[in-house]
């Protein structure tokens, strides 16, 4: 197996003002090109965990290794070359007078050449569906556009790993899926994408791996379909998997899927257009 782009080894973290650990003995590794969702109820440690990935938080105990480098000895401004982090609220990072200035802020901090900045500007404007808005004032954009601008301004730094904290908060389904489609496209181009979210339907549709956090500990880690199939375990972490998994479990007990289950898949199974899976065997849509 290739060297992971991100490895967490026995990570413990305690906030300075708290007596208990916010993260306890978390270990995981992420390969390049993964599309990963970290889920869990509020206060489960999702954001605390991902803040370790770009050095915003340093481990109390344990190690976080990003592309072979220990984050403990590197400032966030240096790790930003490898790890892009998009915050939940785009208004927490927007400050410039134009979309162009906002997007080029990060690359300028990294010391990129003007030609390289211009190239990445055009690229991210196209990728984030913001082309033609270069001279617009960021504060006047819609919430969805501001969210995409926040992603664009991080993406322009060309990070290998892209972390998006709650990318769809406060957005309708149309904007949410649009943003997630853009993230999927980035993932297909080779970016390692990590998201945290409470929207299980979006996780089911887009993520290929899911990590469930519960009370500061890594509770479940596996392929999306495998994690969501563990309905009872998820309920103990106060997570309700998408209805399609609950329905599939009722209709086809003990089944196993080799890819995330969609409502269309379930429809195919019910209508007989797909092979009903046997336990521990993948299912296939019939020709």
């Amino acid at each position: 197996m290739a060297e992971p782009v991100l490895a967490v080894e026995h990570l413990f973290y305690r906030y300075p003002t708290r007596a208990s650990y916010a993260l306890e003995d978390v270990s995981l590794s992420i390969q390049g090109g993964e599309f990963l969702a970290i889920i869990g109820q509020n206060g489960s440690g999702k954001t605390t965990l991902i803040k370790h990935f770009n050095g915003l938080l340093k481990p109390t105990q344990g190690q976080v290794i990003v592309e072979g480098r220990d984050t403990a000895s590197l400032p966030t401004s240096e790790l930003a070359r490898s790890v892009g982090y998009v915050f939940q609220n785009p208004d927490h990072q927007i400050f410039a007078e134009t979309v162009r200035d906002e997007i080029t802020f990060g690359p300028r901090n990294l010391g990129h050449s003007p030609e390289r900045i211009q190239k990445s500007l055009q690229l991210v404007l196209d990728e984030m569906d913001l082309a033609g808005m270069e001279d617009d004032m960021p504060f006047q954009l819609s919430r969805g556009q501001r969210q995409r601008l926040a992603v664009a301004s991080v993406l322009a730094m060309e990070p290998a790993i892209l972390i998006i904290d709650e990318p769809t908060t406060g957005q309708d389904w149309k904007e949410s899926t649009k943003l997630m489609e853009l993230v999927r496209r980035l993932n297909e181009k080779g970016h390692t994408c990590i998201i945290t979210t409470h929207n299980m339907n979006l996780v089911s549709l887009f993520a290929r791996r899911v990590i469930v956090m519960r009370a500061g500990k890594l509770f479940l880690d596996g392929a999306t379909q495998d994690v969501f199939s563990q309905v009872d375990s998820l309920l103990t972490a106060w997570i309700k998997p998408p209805e399609v998994y609950s329905m599939a479990r009722q209709l086809f007990p003990g089944m196993h899927f080799d890819r995330p289950l969609t409502p269309a898949d379930l429809g195919d199974l019910v209508a007989g257009r797909a092979q009903v899976p046997h336990p521990n065997t993948p299912f296939e849509v019939l020709p």
């Binding site: 915003l56 966030t76 240096e78 915050f87 400050f95 410039a96 301004s153 991080v154």
Partner: protein, 276 residues
């Protein structure tokens, strides 16, 4: 910022002193601020400071006070010890330890510096004790109740104070988040000269101010929706404050310090000059 928030949180703890009326603690604090104005005798100042520490033990905040003052005491005392002896007026009859050009350090200057340092330390200890034993929002509420019911002043003014304290933690949280978001975009906020760091904080300030203005607007709307009016002087208060015997005893403790200081003044013991 985190430490300030931690201090404000300590003010919400439970102890016999925390339970007192916040207005009683305000009056006590005023007394303790007057004392170092009246007295410069380092022994009297030291005794009063120790007395506040005894009160801190009763309030069970001595550990938190120690964490704050262990840094503040040396800074204050050190600053005064370094600067004051050089500027203490030079007279021929002093015992000089060091003298060069306009710089001069004498035993008398050092004693005076210690006295000045202890004045600041007493005031600082009293302020810290007051903040750590008083819920400032409760204090603002109590003052608001008094202002409206006795002086017919609108509750708007105490509300402004309450809002300031109430939203301080949120502003602090926003500041940390915004700073982190800029660090994530490779902005190295912590390095460079003072002017460079100041320049780097401009991007951080814009979303912070923008967020504050939006929040202020939301709060104003929410207040109106809940029938808040600046003209309403019939407003009632959920928590109603009444002075108890404990509050009066506590205030008398503060007044006793002033009386003792005045007595020392009358007897000629109040000033540091008796040691010079």
């Amino acid at each position: 910022m985190t430490f300030v928030l931690s201090m404000l949180e300590t003010g919400k703890a439970k102890s016999p002193i925390h339970a007192l009326d916040p207005r009683a603690k305000l009056l006590w604090w005023i007394c303790l601020i007057v004392v170092p104005i009246l007295v410069t005798n380092p022994f009297i100042l030291a005794v009063f400071t120790v007395w506040i520490w005894v009160m801190a033990r009763i309030a069970r905040i001595e550990r938190q006070m120690y964490q704050f003052l262990i840094v503040s005491y040396p800074v204050m005392l050190g600053f005064i010890m370094i600067t004051w002896p050089f500027f203490y007026a030079a007279t021929p009859d002093q015992h000089y330890l060091f003298r060069w050009a306009f710089l001069h350090v004498s035993t008398e200057g050092l004693i005076y510096a210690i006295a000045m340092g202890l004045r600041i330390i007493l005031a600082l200890t009293a302020c810290t004790f007051f903040v750590m034993t008083t819920d400032l929002m409760d204090l603002a509420g109590a003052l608001g109740e008094f202002l409206q019911n006795r002086l017919h002043v609108s509750y708007m003014y105490p509300l402004m104070v309450i809002s300031s304290f109430k939203f301080l933690p949120e502003m602090s949280g926003d500041f940390v988040t915004i700073t982190d978001s800029f660090r994530s975009r490779a902005l190295d906020i912590d390095s460079g000269s003072f002017s460079e760091r100041l320049r780097k904080t401009v991007p951080v300030a814009i979303p912070l101010i923008d967020g504050m203005l939006r929040r202020a607007q939301r709060i104003a709307i929410a207040l109106e929706l809940k029938a808040f009016s600046t003209d309403n002087l019939q407003r009632t208060f959920y928590v109603q404050h009444r002075f108890t015997r404990s509050d009066l005893i506590f205030i008398l403790g503060g007044l006793l310090m002033i009386v003792l200081s005045l007595l020392a003044l009358w007897l000629g013991w109040a000033k540091v000059e008796i040691f010079l």
